[in-house]
């Protein structure tokens, strides 16, 4: 083996080490946001569908999820915190995973940070009509705040 071959392998090892160190240091950068703050940054919002199984049982309830948003604004994971019904949770997961948020500018010192917050959805039957309420958006609007994106009905 030539000397330059050894140097290349050594250099690769060092690069690997530095990349692993940097990913270890950045992997845990998770910024917790108040629900209203991150909800206002949503650019694409899809509301969950009211599950047929719940409709047939005349059932309503609350689903609370914790969402992790990648630096580029796409939803990385949706975690169940509290759910009234498995079908409702599936519906929320499916809809929220299609949401988009504003990306963190590349010039920001926090450009690699993931963001997390809670989202709350109320499945409600009003006079027999099924409604899914995005409680965080409803609260923002009730206080006169503005949302970036209008909610799209039906997530499927």
């Amino acid at each position: 083996m030539s000397c330059s071959g050894l140097q290349v392998i050594g250099l690769c090892a060092l690069l690997n080490l530095f990349s692993s160190l940097s990913s270890a240091a950045q992997g845990d950068a998770l910024a917790r946001y108040p629900p209203e703050t991150l909800r206002k940054e949503a650019t694409t919002v899809v509301l969950p569908m009211y599950p047929r199984s719940m409709l047939s049982l005349n059932k309503g309830g609350l689903v609370v999820v914790s969402v992790i948003v990648a630096p580029d604004g796409h939803v990385q994971s949706v975690q169940d915190l509290d759910s009234c019904d498995a079908a409702a949770l599936d519906s929320v997961r499916s809809a929220v995973s299609r949401w988009q948020f504003t990306a963190i500018p590349r010039t920001s010192p926090f450009r690699d940070a993931r963001r997390t917050t809670k989202l709350l959805f109320l499945f409600r039957l009003t006079d027999g009509r099924p409604t899914v309420v995005d409680l965080v958006a409803a609260e923002i609007e009730s206080r006169g705040g503005k949302l970036t994106a209008a909610s799209l009905e039906g997530g499927h």
């Binding site: 083996m1 392998i9 050594g10 090892a13 270890a24 609260e139």
Partner: protein
Amino acid sequence: MVRWQSVRRTVAELALVVASTALMVAGYYTISALVHRRAGVEPVGAQRLTDFAPISIGRRVTLPVFGRSPDTYAFVLVLSPDCPHCVAAAPLLRALTEQAARQGVRIVLALPDKAKDKAYAATLGARGTSTVDWVELGLKPLGTPMIILVDAGGTVVKYWLGEPSSATQHELINAVAHPSDVANYPRRLASGQPMFTESDLRATSGPDSITIVNLLERPQFKGTRYDYPAVNIPLDELRFRSLQELNPAKTQVIDCTVVATMVCDNAVKELRMKGFRAVAMDNSGSGECPDSAKNDGQ
């Protein structure tokens, strides 16, 4: 000969690749451990603070029994090197330590890692008759600095959380001088209103007319029970869920035993702003339930 050299070269390359990979993995885990430690996250397998119930009045910390008599009290100073308010509270901590030494009252220092952080506590002027790790308390501190008054059996009589105001400092110095007088001292909201105790509630309200609102996160709430209808709404969800889930015909009683006074004050304000009758309760008398039965407050 040439073939033998080629084999040796391949073996040497493989050895280098294995060594570099081992170095990379070791580096990753070392840095991960450092990052986790810096973030206050315990490594997997260790006893975690999140496993414990939060400190609240009436619960017991697992400290050695101090008691030669029921009048023996101790103050637990919960501090952390990452806490800027602890530095701000240094003059008070020093004064408390000196006052306790004069009065013969025990001071227990509770630190994230007593072996490493004891020197830090000394720089603040906080000296204890004994020092324990946070996890040894058996309950989770609500924040730092936290000063806890416990009786001879380790039961939490009262606690003070956060950077103390001048009024709180005065109260704490008095508490060290006369700890037995503190037991029945009512906590007050920032607005000056005294908080209810469970006995006040019992005297004035029937179980049908109130709902207790517990503001803890779900895992921390698990296992908490009340003698009254209760609902768990984590603090950051209160403004979204209150109108949907709380009955406006009932009085909403915020359990302030488990949260700081300022947090409790905000929760009471939030509910009143939404048109609810809301009061604060300091001593819930809540206890541990073997199964995680959730009370329904409606």
